[in-house]
Symmetry: D2
Subunit: 344 residues, 4 copies
């Protein structure tokens, strides 16, 4: 099976390359990029010396259409055009950008400040939060792979929303991410001397992942409304932690909630519910497709705190994309994703 990686020179692209090159059902990766075409991939990424012998190709729509799978790891705004051209051809498409995730007319325009993909493309795109949408993903030809923050957030909230345990109006989401989330392009906000030994908040009330989270929450609960979602930049490369707070509808102990989470995620190999009293650190999922969750009730406030961690480039991007490919192929979901976290 031959797969294409479009936007191969970005961090999402190179992580797809790491995972797909070691995937037993993938014979070869074909690398595309609109900016570095013609260059040797191992020169772009010297850690691949001796491992990659590919050159980066320009965008070649017709060739891509004939592949088995095409992963779009290009910026939002670019992706929708490619997705449209690839639709209805041989290649199944997994889009890692934000272009195909928002279904409500006007939302993309509001949050992404650009024109939305056409409704027929949006209509075909299945939201690829694997643990939640596995059945639809299996039949899909086009996947809107979730954003990194929505993945960690929604997996943390699913049991509470589906079982109607919290008051949706009370939800607060405080997210923290490492700097690889900003991509490979150099900028002052990701310059080492400005970010090391620094902690910043950004896009306050304006992060484009806000409507993506809201859209899913509304599917789960008719009470769900606008949420408070903020994001912080942590001086580390990989990893997301989302800390969530909500009022419990009824009184509930940590142990009861823990049991619900365990049973909710029992058959989901990539979600690990931590023992009562233990909370995950981001490094404990480093390099893997795991999402680790903890939950704790506070009887003083009748509120619950949920902690969710992922590796933003794996479960938050490339890993979940491969997990979706596995589902679409009818493979065991963990195929090619059996990594142990690198620790320390």
């Amino acid at each position: 099976m031959d797969v294409g990686i479009v936007g191969s020179t970005g961090y999402g692209g190179v992580e797809l390359y790491r995972l797909l090159s070691n995937h037993p059902n993938v014979d070869g990766c074909i690398l595309y990029s609109s900016s570095l075409e013609g260059s040797s991939y191992a020169e772009q990424y010297p850690h691949l010396s001796g491992l990659s012998h590919e050159s980066v190709k320009p965008i070649m729509i017709e060739e891509m259409q004939q592949l088995d799978f095409v992963f779009l790891a290009v910026p939002s705004g670019v992706s929708k055009e490619l997705a449209q051209k690839l639709m209805g051809k041989k290649a199944k498409v997994i889009d890692l950008s934000g272009d195909l995730r928002l279904k409500v007319p006007g939302e993309y325009e509001e949050w992404y400040k650009g024109e939305s993909a056409p409704q027929d493309v949006l209509g075909k795109a299945v939201y690829g939060l694997t643990e939640i949408n596995r059945h639809a993903i299996r039949e899909a030809e086009l996947i809107a792979n979730p954003g990194c923050f929505p993945t960690a957030t929604l997996l943390g909230l699913a049991p509470l929303y589906q079982q109607d345990l919290i008051d949706p109006h009370s939800l607060i989401i405080d997210a923290k991410t490492g700097l690889s989330g900003a991509g490979r392009k150099a900028s002052q906000s990701s310059h080492f001397a400005e970010t090391q030994e620094n902690l910043r908040i950004y896009k306050v009330h304006q992060h484009q992942h806000t409507p993506e989270i809201e859209q899913q929450l509304k599917e789960w609960s008719s009470e769900a409304g606008p949420i408070t979602f903020t994001t912080h930049l942590i001086p580390m490369t990989r990893g997301i932690m989302v800390t969530m707070y909500a009022d419990l509808k009824d009184s509930c102990t940590t142990e009861q909630l823990h049991t619900r989470y365990q049973s909710f995620y029992e058959k989901h190999p990539f979600v690990r519910i931590r023992p009562v009293g233990q909370f995950p650190g981001t490094k404990e999922v480093f390099g893997t497709n795991f999402c680790d969750l903890s939950i704790k009730a506070d009887p003083r406030t009748n509120r619950v705190t949920i902690v969710s961690v992922i590796d933003n480039l794996v479960k938050g991007a490339a890993g979940q994309a491969v997990q979706n490919m596995n589902v679409m192929l009818g493979l065991d979901e963990t195929t090619g994703l059996h990594h142990y976290p690198i620790y320390p």
Copy 2:
């Protein structure tokens, strides 16, 4: 004027030494420690080679009583004993531990798991949040210097609570700190290989600064009840950011709130209100006594997000202690604290 630093070999102690050695009204620092007595201070802290010629003395109560000021930078539990012995003598005492902050019987026992200081000591101890308690501090002989998280949090919330702008029940406080807050003693949780490229949450619903924050909020508002307060460890050495969320009682724009904050802190040299739309990073107060604040209303949710940053070892500990000393001496509050942040 001679001042004593007890617990001089910890990070709070050495930061006091940096500030007091360059304070125009301080002639000399006398250094005490129960663990490293007799050692040369510059050997303990080689960055002071050629700057410090002091040896560290053992705890000597009688000598301390005759000093002008004594700073207690020892762990909670130890401090209350020393404070008691120093009371009513010549030396004014500034206690940086948590021992003298909680006034409500039973709270210290619950959160610090030890026996509280006697009520007469507690009764004399003025809570040293300078911007709020300046008048009482001026007359005090014993100061309970605030905790690092309460300092950043309470300065961020004061205008909202004093002007009754938010619903106290809705308050969520998500705090993040660098690792120097854990002190100088080596432990696995502050071991480099376990903390670098890692982000962790700790003491969920159990941090001992919780009742300290609640106590002050209750003074400001009869509606204030138990709060949700969580703390995260950031892979950096210095700096605290506290992100706070609350429901607005009435609709209010960011500009209106900004104006209120500016006028509330107009005469407070160490609180900097950032322009609308700009949020502070922790590095922007590095090494200084500043507390930088931003506030933003979200019309979608009718909620407000407040961001507060400090250097945990300066405004969160040693700097505020010196600021309090200045107030007690009738000096300009900024004496000896005119540092510019080190950037980058």
Copy 3:
């Protein structure tokens, strides 16, 4: 095949666990530790939640003797006792400590400040620098796995010494390492706040890896004498870079040297010679068993600079140990070691 990991709770041990758990010829890992016996491994290392179900056993010599392979990842001083008790039994032993490396009487005593292993044990122990000693390793029952610095250094120098290209008296070795090399035990020298944003030199002229390097160099060249070898602590977790300098015997271009290196390491899958003009960063081998090398001649000085990088926990410890196990088993040397570096 069942393998034992002694000292399983240290960083070397847990890296062995990562590699061996995913090794196709290994059925199970049995974990031993003298300090944390009885505890659940996943509690010691929460990143292994759901992956490890082992408990840590106490040291059990008789059980160990019956295993197929035993890896000793215990401190120098402890290892020699265990190695002695395991000798001549079923289990083949790979010792990751420094106990069995130095063959010259008196050297261990001088550099390790303890009593050497008995000569009969030393005599059986084959120095496990795989690329150099592959034939002897194949027949060995006891391996002295090389130190992290000697591995990077000796692979960098082998072509120059074996082909008599440099003046051994001129050799200078400036080594830099991340902090995981110091192990998991907390200490002030690996405390986050003391090491982050800091760069230190340590054990100047006294590092115990010095005689290990000298011993091998003397095997290669009768002219080799005492070397200058210094080590620096870099604020990062993993990775070693060794920068080496030596006078060329005859004038030689970078291209000529490059060709020699390429041909020297042609059949060695874990040594990557970088293209002329490109130098490796430590992150480019992160998590893998690669040793990446570059060499450059300086016509101005007629000197050569050699740069060698490894992941100290993989090629510098656990990875090379597994590579040696593969050789001893007659397997392809790369079995279970096909990792791509995690980047970024």
Copy 4:
């Protein structure tokens, strides 16, 4: 006294601003920049909120000529033009670029790949290594402020060269620097995700500071020839460590060398010779103008290892520039530079 900072928006410029704003003899800083003219300085550098009220001006030669001091903190290549235009006017000029340091015709062209400043400008420019050239600096009107690496290196070598203790042909200089040395301009080589948890070597045998070091060494010793000098990027913001190695001409103990260093630098307030057996870390000079030195002889090899650390932005740039200004003004050399290192 009014001083101008040209290139004020770079890291050298903002560090000059920090030092000069707190200098007792400086009334005001006038800020110039060719790229960000018209902008508010506090917007460029939000850590200066409330501290700086200046706007950044465009380059205005005539105005600059009338100032008391002008600091040129602009890139090499730009500086020489400005220096030329300012020569012979009221303003004394301190140039922090590499443009005026190399006196031998052809060297600038070779190492900086551009046209050298005219000989009359070069002839007037005094090399501002304060500890070495104090007398000439006192009379100078134009200073070529030394590079960061040459400062640390030359202060480390001066006693050995001036007292003819080592063989110049044997000298090896292995330098390590934090990333602020690369300036504020974003680039991939200073992108957080590419540099954190990474260690790289760069400009091997090609660093433009090589001839600057050689030029001074040749002044000290007729035997001095081309040197081996390499530079490494450390994942930290500030700090340089230079490790130097050389053969001793005669046998010499560490204690003897230590005594020579102590007496050589006895009257130099910014050079701190560490006690025998103690080596400085970069963090121990953080934010200050200190250069800390250690030296150790190795009787096994009859070689000496010298370690020198500075803060690259202070003693390696802005701090030494202010020190030179103090000398030129006949002030105490430490005026405005009495900082204690920020630690931890």
